[in-house]
Symmetry: C2
């Protein structure tokens, strides 16, 4: 049902993404993204369809920072059967933009995977921050309850 | 790899949810939610862990409306293998809250499924609206490009 080796591969992909973003390797951080990816990003627009759009977004985000932002994850859960898997976790990004603006926020990430020709590919990505319905503002100051696992 | 019957079951669960929300059947709309669900909702907090928290959120949201809001989906894609599946799609909600506030927005939904004792269960839900990084406001006015499929 859930072979340890495949679980490990999925977790390694997630860890490598964080490491590559944190070391400024934007292209490498997107290596496991499938050409067909449908990405729901934390910021506008509603969605990106295809890797080219997703990659352009990653590049332009990275370009707002002088030094690479630091990306970390916690509470990674992986569900896997046969050639399909998905994972959800909390992500934390911190850094300083070229404008001097400090970025430090928790967001939620869900990834969908499909094994294609023997290789696990990210075919769906959903990142988001919830909003406060009273104010219409995004809730950038939220923190997970409890300690990081 | 992707038996049509299972695909149909997943799609029927998604359709039933929209129908049940739209007819005001909150409890029924949550029937396929697993006790273990981890839900990332469109509004605060960062996450809900467990069905009780998720159901409380659904009830309190419903209670802000006199008449049930209308929930619709488009561009539903399902990935399924063995006993795991995930789906992503766009959702549209419209209605009028008791305060007189009109609600009309597109949001993104990802659902994660696991088959437990022969029954497909929603073990993860991620709903969100992106925000505008210039203003910090949630982007409630976004519309999908093209026509509904």
């Amino acid at each position: 049902m859930m072979p340890a080796a495949d679980q490990d591969t999925i977790r390694a992909i997630i860890d490598a993404r964080s490491a590559n973003v944190s070391s400024g390797e934007v292209e490498t951080s997107m290596a496991d993204i499938d050409e067909s990816v449908v990405m729901f990003d934390v910021v506008d627009p509603l969605r990106h369809i295809g890797k080219a759009s997703s990659l352009a977004r990653a590049r332009s985000w990275r370009a707002t920072f002088e030094q690479p932002p630091r990306l970390e994850t916690r509470d990674v859960e992986v569900f896997l059967s046969g050639d399909v898997a998905f994972s959800h976790f909390l992500s934390h990004v911190s850094g300083t933009q070229k404008t001097g603006q400090k970025v430090e926020m928790w967001f939620r990430t869900t990834l969908g995977f499909e094994r294609k020709q023997g290789r696990w590919r990210i075919v769906h990505e959903h990142g988001s921050v919830p909003f406060n319905p009273e104010t219409g503002h995004v809730s950038l100051g939220l923190r997970p309850e409890g300690k990081p696992s």
